[in-house]
């Protein structure tokens, strides 16, 4: 078996039947990280104990224990998720030395299923960015073209997975941060329904939008990983008590009679011709497979970016108030002062600890929540958010899954958009409405641009209908032009 390109269940089966040890698997991928990641900068910390963690899995197997469906499968975890004993910085100087005393529920569940954590993955600072250029640890490069961004904010996860430095990764998605980098790097990324996956131990950005999900190499791997990390958690009151379906076992590519909704509004914008062609081809493919194509309308999609940024920045300004230089994280140097103003202590620490984009969003959010502006911005955004959600619920009366582009264009060049925050925000036109409405969404690789960059297709389903979305993705995957192709870095 070629470990580099093996699926999650292939690795787990091989480890369980002892044709390869978990330790050998961890060693194989660790060597890949050491040799290839110098070009990509996708890892920010390496788990110093990964080999002994893997050896422990082997020991348990030797004793005849059931080690779970992901026995010995090496994963990389986005820096937003706390990992006990492994540095977790959220891509920020303010958490530069933070070592969590506990695992996020997602991480704990992966470990319980047999996963070996190899390290932490780079991201935009506090997940605020669409290019991975706002990270304190520096930009990540797209393995398909090192001059391009991998997307963001889960850019490290997407790049590491595309280059097969691990067998699976976890990302988080607040406004597209799983789906957009997955599209840019040619991997499968799933943002589950809000409440499907616990947020306990995930560094909070915008709590009513954040969800963690798999960023992996195939739809089947995504379904299996999602199954492992989903489900009620008493430490997150917004998780649903609904049972977790056996998505990976129910996965089927027979989509005859399924109704695929195409938003009228999709094509209105100026899509890159390669994206346009890929979307058209995906629709044609599904039609040939027996799906019914129906037109739907979510007219307020065009308001998704303003509503998203108003809501997300407001929640962020509140969530990030906890970084005060007292209990953990960066503290400005005050050695020479005998008595200082408390506000001075906070202000200096935060001013030095946060990067430019994070400060910009804290300012924006504080402004929107401040006296005199609350009704016009935060409250109004919440009302429009309800309208957008209602329009989606209407659309899902006519179809099972909505198909759309993930982004207007394939991966852009490093440095190309970083100087204009508003232009960067407008990148998120196709992804943010899914988070606002709490719907499950995913990107599945389907086409390649003329320059050889991957292009994903976005699929969105109604609340808790992940199965339908995964089935359509499974069908599209079988006809994908990206299938079997790998970035040159690999």
């Amino acid at each position: 078996m070629d470990l580099t390109f093996a699926s999650i269940s292939e690795i787990a089966d091989a480890v369980k039947n002892k044709s390869v040890s978990a330790k050998e698997v961890a060693q194989h991928f660790q060597t890949r990280i050491e040799t290839l990641d110098r070009k990509l900068n996708s890892f920010t910390s390496i788990n110093p104990n990964s080999l002994s963690d893997a050896a422990e899995i082997d020991a348990r197997i030797a004793k005849g224990e059931d080690v779970g469906p992901m026995a010995g499968v090496p994963f990389g975890i986005k820096e937003m998720l706390c990992t006990k004993g492994i540095r977790t910085t959220a891509g920020s100087k303010i958490l530069e030395n933070f070592i969590p005393p506990y695992d996020a529920t997602v991480v704990a569940r992966l470990k319980k299923a047999g996963v070996v954590v190899l390290g932490k993955l780079n991201q935009d600072e506090f997940a605020m960015g669409s290019s991975n250029e706002t990270s304190f640890h520096g930009s990540v490069k797209n393995p398909w073209n090192l001059e391009c961004v991998p997307g963001g904010s889960s850019g490290g996860s997407a790049a590491a997975q595309a280059a097969r430095l691990v067998a699976g990764t976890i990302g988080t998605d607040t406004g597209g941060s799983i789906r957009q980098p997955a599209s840019f790097c040619g991997i499968v990324g799933v943002k589950p329904t809000y409440g499907r996956v616990s947020r306990y131990g995930i560094i909070a950005y915008a709590s009513s939008l954040d969800q963690a999900g798999p960023m992996v190499s195939s739809v089947k791997d995504a379904a299996l990983t999602l199954e492992v990390i989903s489900g009620f958690d008493e430490n997150d009151s917004t998780t649903t008590q609904k049972q977790v379906p056996a998505w990976s076992k129910s996965l089927k590519s027979d989509i005859k009679g399924l109704k695929i909704g195409i938003k009228k509004e999709n094509m209105a914008g100026s899509l890159h011709p390669d994206v346009q062609k890929t979307v058209e081809k995906s629709i044609e493919t599904l039609k040939q497979m027996g799906a019914e194509i129906v037109e739907v309308s979510v007219p307020l999609t065009e308001m998704a970016v303003p509503v998203y940024y108003l809501v997300a920045a407001s929640e962020a300004s509140s969530n990030l108030a906890r970084y005060d230089g007292v209990k953990y994280g960066y503290r400005a140097d005050f050695k020479n002062l005998s008595a200082i103003e408390l506000d001075e202590f906070y202000g200096k620490t935060r001013g030095e600890g946060f990067g430019a984009e994070v400060k910009r969003r804290i300012m924006l959010g504080t402004y929107c929540l401040s006296s005199g502006y609350y009704d016009a911005y935060y409250n109004k955004a919440g009302q429009v958010r309800r309208l957008i959600t209602n329009q989606y619920l209407e659309a899902f009366k006519k179809c099972d899954v909505i198909l759309s582009p993930v982004t207007t264009a394939p991966a852009f060049k490093l440095g190309e958009r970083i100087d204009d925050p508003l232009e960067m925000y407008l990148n998120d036109i196709f992804t943010t409405s899914t988070n606002l409405a709490g719907l499950p969404g995913m990107s599945v690789p389907f086409g390649l641009s003329q320059d050889g960059l991957p292009i994903g297709i976005q699929l969105t389903a109604c609340h808790f209908e992940e199965q339908k979305m995964l089935d359509v993705a499974f069908a599209l995957e079988s006809a994908s032009s990206v299938k079997g192709k790998h970035p040159h870095v690999v």
Partner: protein, 93 residues
């Protein structure tokens, strides 16, 4: 433009030091972003409850019991400055 005084006021509310250069940047960047975002004011939302949590929160009961938690050592291990199990801060009075 959002004037410098407003930026200073917001920065104070956010407990965030911003340099003069940052203040200048934010005043144009925030004004530009908010100018774009203001288009939502045209949408009729009369009588609508704002949507805060996008899926229904299912309330549940649990036993009120003591559980294994973190030790004081765990909780203070990341402190920038500490004295035993206490967080140490500069004198503020």
């Amino acid at each position: 433009m959002i004037d410098k005084k407003t930026i200073e006021h917001i920065a104070k509310l956010a407990r965030l030091h911003v340099s003069d250069q940052e203040a200048e940047e934010y005043s144009t960047q925030l004004a530009k972003a908010l100018g774009h975002f203001e288009q939502i004011s045209k949408i009729n939302t009369a009588g609508l409850e704002p949507l805060i949590t996008p899926t229904e929160i299912e309330a549940y009961w649990r036993e009120d019991e003591v559980k294994q938690s973190f030790t004081a050592e765990d909780m203070t291990a990341n402190a920038p400055s500490r004295a035993g199990n206490l967080f140490k801060v500069p004198p503020v009075v």
